[in-house]
């Protein structure tokens, strides 16, 4: 009988690049949303 060594990759600390890229897009979009809200509040016309 041949012994076959099975190498199992340790998934516990593996960085997810797909998650990172999705995060980059989501994070960027969140900031754009923030700036639209800030712009609307800053430049709204209010009578003194």
């Amino acid at each position: 009988m041949n012994d076959t060594t099975v190498v199992q990759e340790n998934e516990e600390n593996k960085f997810s690049w797909s998650g990172f890229i999705v995060g980059l897009i989501v994070g960027g979009a969140l900031f754009l949303l923030t700036i639209q809200i800030v712009k609307a509040l800053m430049f709204s016309l209010t009578a003194a």
């Binding site: 960085f15 797909s18 998650g19 990172f20 995060g23 897009i25 994070g27 754009l32 700036i35 009578a47």
Partner: protein
């Protein structure tokens, strides 16, 4: 190769944070013009004048705040048409011969760069007898009779700024008058000699001169160095529209003169800044600023006082409906409010009063 949910979320969190701050950096630098609009800069060159002297003929529009407010409330509130409010004209201890009404009016002596001069009457007050006494005190009655006054600049239709028109027309029935868009028919009827019994206002001298109605949304060039802007403000006691005058004093800057500033001081200064060349820095402001006319206070007025220094104003010749309380707070905040002399029934020296003068230039 499968990705565990935990690793994906970790990547998502790191990427999200990096993406958020990266976008912050990009939009603040490379793409900033796309996201933060530039503040418009005024480009309307109105010319220049050498100087303007403002004589405060009367800034005491009424003598007792409580009585005036009571008159409006008894009639139904601040939205009631001013022409149907029975204003109190007798029995007021501190009034003018018992009458609570006074009026707001000023005389502008403008000197142009070529040495020529013009006189502009700025509003015409309320109480005909009071205004007549004030005009005689300052010699304005003779100026009107001799046609030395070139125009009446009527800022708005309010009772304390306009209902003294009879006194003006008595001396000069054909004086050219400029009014803001928004004047009601009653205002034009008064000019033509109508009487309003409830409000006790009349004009026995029908106007025979030219009336110019100034539209909102543009800068009106009145003389070289002198312009006006009209605002479509809806104001208490069923009044609409107010115009302010802007003069560009050579080597000093823009002087903004208001009647009541119902459009709001920040709105006015912003409009001047966005429309008129040189408006980035306002040299002076004169007239009523309508902040605490009844000596009441709201925390938002503190924000107004904090906002004013950004305009670089060097002279604040404010009075009338600015309110003494506002003047006190402005002085405490270090704003350059011009002191008055408290003569001719003006109560305090906190700002320019009846008979006081200020020269710009």
């Amino acid at each position: 190769m499968s990705v565990s949910r935990r690793n994906f979320l970790k990547g998502l969190a790191v990427g999200g944070t990096a993406g958020y701050f990266a976008m912050a950096g990009v939009t603040s630098t490379v793409m900033k013009d796309m996201f933060l609009p530039k503040e418009p800069v005024g480009d309307d060159d109105i010319g220049e004048i050498k100087s303007v002297k403002v004589t405060q003929i009367s800034e005491t529009s009424w003598f007792n705040n409580s009585i005036l407010v009571n008159d409006m409330m008894k009639a139904g509130g601040l939205l009631v048409n001013q022409y149907i409010i029975p204003w109190t004209h007798e029995g007021v201890k501190e009034g003018y011969n018992g009458d609570n009404s006074g009026g707001y009016s000023a005389l502008l002596d403008i000197e142009f760069l070529d040495g020529s001069k013009k006189k502009v009457l700025f509003d015409c007050g309320w109480n005909a007898a009071w205004m007549d006494e004030c005009y005689k005190r300052e010699g304005v009655d003779k100026m009107l009779a001799n046609h030395e006054v070139d125009m009446l600049f009527q800022t708005h239709e309010h009772f304390d700024h306009y209902w003294g028109i009879e006194t003006v027309l008595k001396y000069c029935p054909d004086l050219p008058i400029g009014v803001p868009k928004g004047f009601y028919q009653e205002g034009f009827d008064l000019l033509q000699g109508k009487k309003f019994d409830i409000a006790k206002v009349k004009n026995d001298y029908p106007h025979k001169g030219k009336v110019t109605v100034r539209e909102s949304g543009k800068v009106h060039h009145l003389y070289p160095g002198v312009a006006s802007i009209t605002f479509d403000s809806s104001i208490i006691t069923r009044v609409k529209g107010e115009q302010a005058m802007i003069l560009n004093v050579k080597d000093k800057g823009l002087v903004v003169i208001t009647g009541c500033c119902h459009m709001g001081i920040i709105s006015l200064l912003q409009e001047v800044r966005h429309r008129i060349k040189g408006g980035k820095k306002i040299y002076a402001i004169q007239g009523g600023l309508h902040i605490s006319p009844f000596e009441d206070w709201d925390p938002q007025y503190d924000d107004l006082i904090k906002a004013i220094p950004a305009y670089g104003i060097e002279v604040m010749a404010c009075n009338h409906c600015t309110g003494y309380l506002t003047a006190e707070k402005m002085l405490k905040a270090g704003l350059p409010v011009v002191e008055g002399t408290a003569r001719f029934k003006s109560k305090k020296k906190l700002y320019l009063g009846n008979g006081d003068q200020v020269v710009f230039g």
